[in-house]
Structures are given as C-alpha cells and as structure tokens.
C-alpha cells in the first residue's frame, strides 16, 4: 500500500507546515496589531504577575465561563481536559524510549476518550436543544463538532474494538519524524482517524480554533490595571500626536 503511505506522509508534512505557518502568521499579526487603549475587564490585576495568574486561571479552569454558565463550563472543561490527557498519552507514539511520565498518563489517557465523547456530545446536544444556541450555530460549528467526534470515536474504536497494529503505526510516525519513511499500517479506521487529524490541523489556523492563541492576546484579559500610573500609547497614536502638535 505504497499509495496510502505516500498520501499520509505527504499529508502530514503539508499539514504540519501549514499549521505552523498559519498559526505563526496569526500570532505575528496579533502581536503586531497595537491595542490603542487600556481596556482590561475590571476588576483586573495591578501587576504583570497578576495578569499571568488571571490567564492561567482562564486557561486551566475556564474561570469566566464558570461564572457564566455551569453546564457549558462542565462540558467544555471536561472535553478540553480530556483532550489534553489523550494528546499527552499519544506522545508514546512519538518518543522512543517512551518518557516515563507519559507512561504514567497512559491509564488516564485511555479513558479520557470517553470523557471527550461525553463532553462533545453534550455540547452538540446543547447546540440542537437550547433555542438560543441553536440560533447562533452555523454549519461550521456543527462540522467542527463532527470532526472532533470523528477523531475521538475512531480512536476509541482502535483502542477498544478493532485494535490497530500499534507497533507498525509507531514505526510510521517515528519514520516521519526522522525522515526515514516507513509503511503506514493498512487499517481503514486508522486511515479515518489520521485523515481527520490532518483536516483538523489544516483548518486550525483559519477557523474558530484560533480561540486558543486568541485568549492570550485578548486585551480585556491580558492588560494590567495601571492606566493612571503608566502612560499607554500605541505606535499609530504616537504618530498622530506628533503630527497634531
């Protein structure tokens, strides 16, 4: 099955390059665009350290979402936390020898798939059943859930129903990383799983998945409450000032 191997080999290289390029492009764009005014949502921290803690709480605990809606928080947090565990568990396919802490994550990681499934399913149900959320949902919102559910479900099938040749898969992946290409195992479920992952990597830089880098650049969350003490001036505003006076 040289064709299959070729497709996925090229696919992974292309998707990785695109993901890195696309994300860097966006991050550089966010970085370069000035925030002309101080607009932290108050009460806000008075120090940079405080802001770092605020962002950590947002990233780790979803603090604002918790304030907003306990159900969305529960399902959303469950999905993201489980996704993290599952991804950490997958590091075993990228490392040789497998790092010891990844071994420790393994038992949790395998069950995380079910939590992802539950979280995604519940979020999708909300999209269909809650009138307000149905109103704001578009095709891309449903497709994104379908994509993530597809990845999760195919992964769970390989783990619990029709096991794939994990040794051959690892050789394929390590081969990709070392530019020493190995055949990809011919397993339709695996092909679906990896194919959807390539799709996810591809859409990441131009979809709502940009919420991940976006949070760190959100002025209402990342600004220090110090407007009176420190003069904040955007580059274009400084030029305006220089012209005007």
């Amino acid at each position: 099955m040289a064709v299959l191997t070729a497709i996925f080999t090229v696919g992974f290289y292309a998707a990785t390059a695109w993901l890195i390029y696309g994300l860097l492009r966006k991050i550089v764009q966010y970085w370069r665009t000035p925030a002309p005014l101080k607009i932290p949502t108050m009460p806000a921290p008075l120090t940079r350290g405080g802001v770092a803690m605020r962002l950590v709480r947002e990233v780790v605990l979803f603090e604002s979402l918790f304030k907003s809606n306990k159900w969305i928080w529960l399902f959303g947090w469950m999905f993201h936390a489980a996704l993290l565990l599952a991804m950490l568990r997958h590091l075993r396919y990228f490392t040789e020898p497998v790092w010891s802490w990844v071994v420790l994550v393994q038992p949790f990681g395998t069950y995380a798939g079910f939590a992802m499934l539950a979280g995604l399913g519940a979020l999708w149900l909300r999209r269909v059943l809650v009138e307000r959320i149905r109103y704001i949902s578009g095709p891309s919102d449903h497709l994104m859930l379908a994509l993530l559910l597809g990845i999760t479900a195919s992964g769970l099938v390989m783990r619990y129903v029709a096991r794939t040749d994990i040794v051959a898969l690892k050789q394929f992946i390590i081969g990709l990383m070392r530019f020493d290409w190995q055949p990809m195992p011919t397993d339709p479920v695996l092909a679906v799983h990896l194919g959807l992952v390539i799709v996810l990597m591809t859409v990441f830089p131009f979809s709502k998945l940009l919420h991940a880098p976006g949070l760190f650049f959100s002025p209402t969350r990342n600004q220090v409450d110090s407007a009176r003490e420190k003069r904040h001036l955007a580059s274009w505003a400084a030029k305006l000032e220089a012209r005007g006076e």
Binding site: T33, T41, M42, L46, Y135, I136, G138, H211, F217, T220
Partner: protein, 515 residues
C-alpha cells in the same frame, strides 16, 4: 413614545423565548450633514459606501488588536447569550452579544478571511449589503457598550469594542447617529454636551451658592475659571441643573469646602462626558480630552477631580493618560485623575468629615453599580475599590442601606439601559425594555427590604432612571446622587442646625449594617 408594552417585572430576570425581529424597527435618528461634517465625517451616505466601509474596516483591523482577536476568537459557545440586558428585555435574538457580534463578524469573514472568501456558506460569511448595513445601524445602536458580556466570555470578547468600531465605520460612510454626533459638535464649539455657555454656567453656579447658604447658613463657593485653584473639577454638565444630578454637585462643593481646598470648574472644559467613546473615534475622543488638559494648564491647577459619571470616569481613569497625558505638571502625590468618591472617601477615612446620618433616615437605599465604573475603571488602590468605596460612603452617610441581588451588582451589574450614546428619546422603547433586569432586581429589594431610593454615580444612569422609573410605576425622584446623600448628611463648620453636637458623630467607620 411608540406603542410598546412595558415589560412585567419578575422575581428573577427570566431568559425570554426568542422573538426574531422584535426590535428590528428600533434605530436612532440619522445624523444630518450639520452634525456629521464638523466632525470630519461625510454629511450623508456616500455613493461608494460599500467600498469605503470595507476600507475603513481594514484600517481599524490594523489599528486595534481587540477588534482583530475578537472577530477571530468566538466559538459560539453561548456563554454570553443570556447576559445582555437588551436581550433579556426584548427577546430579540440579535441582541444576544454573540449574534450582535456576528453581524460584523460575517462581513469580516467575507472580506478579510480565507474561509469566508472561498467557503462563505460554511462559515456564515456575508457581503455588506444594504440590509446588513441597516441591521448594523439598528443593532449596534442597541448595545450600550456596558461590557457585561465581556465578563462572562471565556476569551474576554468585548462587544463594546465591536459596536464602537461598527459605529466608526458607519460615521465614515455618512451614516452617523444624530444624538452622539450633535453632542460632540457642541463640546467642540461650546465646551459641554448641553451647549451651556460660560455666562449661563456662572449664573447657575451662583444660584447654587445661594441655595446652599439659604439651607445651611454657610457660604460655600462654586468657583468658575478661578486661576491658581488647587483642584480642577470636571463633571458631567448634567450636574449643573438636571435632577438629581445637581444635588450631587452641591455635595461635591460642600466636601471641597469642608476639606478646605481651593477648587474650580472650567467653562472651557465644562464637561466630563466624552461621547466620542461611544462612536469609537479615538481622534474625537482625544480632541475632547485635550480640552481638559488645556483648562488644567491655563488655570494652573495641581489636581484633577472628576464628578459622578460612568463613561466619563472610564475615559478619565483608563484613557486620559493615553489621550491627553503625560500629566507631569500636576501634583504627583495624588492619583491623576481622581474620582470625587475617592476624594470624599479619603476624607472620611481621616475623620475629616462630620455627618448627621439621620438626615437620610427618610430613605432606605440601595446602590446601582454603573457599568462603566464597575467593569472599566477602578477607585482607590485595590481592585474592586470601585464597588467598595461608593458603598462605604453610602454607609457613612445613611443608616439604611441594602444591596440588590449579587448577580445584578458589582462586576455583574446591569446597565441602566441608557448608556453608550442611547440616552435619547428616539430610543425610548429600547431604554424602557433594556432597564428590565435592573428594575427586576430593584423591585425585589423594594418588596423585601422596603428600599425607597436607588443611588447612582453616573449622569446617564440618573437621567435614564428618572425617565424609566415612571414607566414601571415608580416615582422619578427615586434615583439619587451619592453626593446628594453626602450633601444631606454633612455638617459644615458653622452650620446653623436645630439640633447640635450630640446627634453629630464623625462618619469615620461604618459601624452597623452587614459586611
């Protein structure tokens, strides 16, 4: 006023069922050429409005990180959908913050993103058609920029930033809003929103001095354009004669008098409000802010104090240093600028003010956190001082104070319904309906705690409640200024009162009541 139904108050503000198009008829009067042109905007809708709008949109994207990040980041999780007072009051789905944002986001997607250019149907991208522009005009004037949604968004997406940008784009194609742009023009030419010229202001202040002397027997001054005064007071011009604003102004005057500091109002910068914030114009906002700088320099003052006003305090606290700084010529020992509440609170802490709290015993009070003060500023040195300091003042000057439901105050406070440049009669239906969540919470403490009056520290809140209280069957005088209560209770040196010393005690620390 049109033929709309005033919402029925409920024990808790319930999430309404969606009523599509319920408020699509609501839009403010269009600015005429004479309101547009002095601000440098086209007088009426330009021929090539579409291309010009997209061009301006592109400029703003390069100027504002918030705009760019917020247009990209929304995942449509729904966390904000039940947070906007206008949605809660009208049930119109386009008043859900995310749906309001999407009016702009769909045009952003179409013109500025890869997915929207090639797969518009997939990501809900849409051209800026005439209908979409009409929606913009209608629904971006149903956002009071109160930022309640930004508190609850997991990415901090602030609809105010989008509604400001949308209004700026519309201004640039000749589709401005009359109320804001007319007012901004008045500030540029006369110095305040009301178009009150210097001599009239002098008369008004003189009248207030007489009122205070009649009431207390003490000569309390309200100086105008006095060079060499220590403090320049910048206050919303509504404070000069609207009720209950003016009672607050008399309160500031008494506090300054009792503190023994010299102060002045400026006829050139006789306005704390800065409506240019509402239309998202950095340039206009800066021009107005520079009036304050010029007044401070001309009068040679050492300190800057702002009166009770919500968005004005946002512009002062968060933006003034940026727009009109550096303020290196002022006394650096004091915060620049300082809020009148910070000023009064400091004096209370020092025990420098004496109060007769019983002067406010005819009222049971609650406090309405103004949205801009609560979510866009601070008072004092600690985060959250903007909640604590006004309450501490209230407790120092009156005996009966209770708070409203926790989710309706502090950072979760509901807008009065008239903020963000919407305090105009042509939006009366929106204002009445948008006040519902606040009215629900207020009604609750009226029923359970016998609250009679609500304190506000914002000129817009005060005007808005005076107008909508009667719609909900309450007296218009049920909204009071915080410094009106201070004014009632403060005991001036040499004041002629019937009962003396024994009743009076320093209001140093609030002793009773909860917390």
């Amino acid at each position: 006023m049109g033929d709309y139904k005033v919402p029925e108050l409920t024990e808790f503000t319930e999430i309404p069922a969606l009523q599509e198009g319920a408020m699509s008829h609501s839009h403010p009067y269009l600015a005429a050429p004479e309101h547009q042109e002095p601000l440098g905007f086209p007088g009426e809708l330009v021929e090539d409005w579409h291309d010009r709008a997209i061009a301006r949109f592109g400029e703003l994207l390069d100027k504002s990180r918030a705009l760019r990040v917020y247009l990209d980041s929304c995942v449509r999780c729904g966390a904000c959908t039940d947070k906007c007072h206008y949605f809660l009051g009208t049930g119109d789905p386009k008043n859900m913050p995310v749906a309001r944002q999407d009016l702009m986001r769909k045009v952003y997607r179409r013109h500025f993103t890869f997915a929207g250019k090639w797969l518009p149907w997939l990501v809900g991208a849409e051209d800026l058609t005439e209908e979409v522009l009409d929606d913009w005009y209608s629904y971006f004037h149903q956002c009071s920029q109160c930022r309640r949604c930004s508190v609850y968004c997991p990415y901090g997406i602030d609809t105010a930033e989008l509604s400001m940008a949308a209004r700026d784009i519309m201004d640039h194609i000749g589709k401005g809003q009359k109320y804001c742009n007319e007012i901004i023009g008045k500030v540029h030419t006369i110095g305040n929103n009301l178009g009150l010229p210097g001599p009239a202001l002098a008369d008004t202040l003189e009248g207030l001095e007489e009122d205070i002397e009649d009431e207390t027997g003490v000569k309390v001054r309200l100086p105008l354009d006095e060079k060499g005064a220590e403090i320049l007071l910048v206050t919303p011009s509504a404070d000069f004669f609207a009720e209950p604003h003016v009672d607050g102004l008399m309160g500031y005057a008494k506090v300054f008098h009792q503190a023994g500091v010299s102060w002045t109002i400026s006829s050139y910068a006789s306005e704390a409000a800065n409506f240019a914030m509402f239309i998202g114009s950095y340039e206009q906002m800066r021009e107005i802010a520079l009036r304050i700088r010029k007044a401070a320099l001309d009068l040679g003052v050492k300190r800057l104090v702002f009166g009770e006003c919500g968005h004005a305090w946002r512009v002062a606290y968060s933006f003034l240093n940026t727009l009109a700084g550096p303020w290196d010529f002022l006394d650096q020992k004091y915060p620049i600028p300082q809020h009148i509440c910070e000023f009064t609170y400091d004096l209370i802490q020092k025990g420098a003010l004496k109060f007769d709290k019983s002067a406010n015993d005819d009222m049971t009070l609650t406090f309405h956190d103004s949205c801009n003060v609560a979510r866009a500023t601070r008072m004092g040195g600690v985060p959250g001082g903007q909640f604590e300091i006004p309450r501490a003042i209230a407790r120092a000057v009156c005996n009966n104070f209770v708070d409203m439901a926790p989710d309706s105050i502090r950072e979760g406070t509901y807008c009065c319904g008239g903020g963000g440049g919407l305090l105009t009669d042509d939006l009366m239906e929106l204002r009445v309906k948008g006040a519902k969540p606040r009215m629900d919470a207020l009604n609750q403490v009226v029923q359970t705690d016998g609250v009679t009056h609500m304190i506000a520290i914002c000129a817009i809140c005060k005007s808005q409640f005076s107008k909508v209280f009667p719609e909900y069957g309450m007296g218009m005088d049920r909204v009071v200024s915080l410094h009106q209560l201070v004014s009632n209770a403060i005991i001036l040196d040499g004041q002629t009162t019937d009962e003396d010393d024994d009743e009076t005690k320093a209001g140093a620390a609030p002793t009773e009541t909860e917390e």
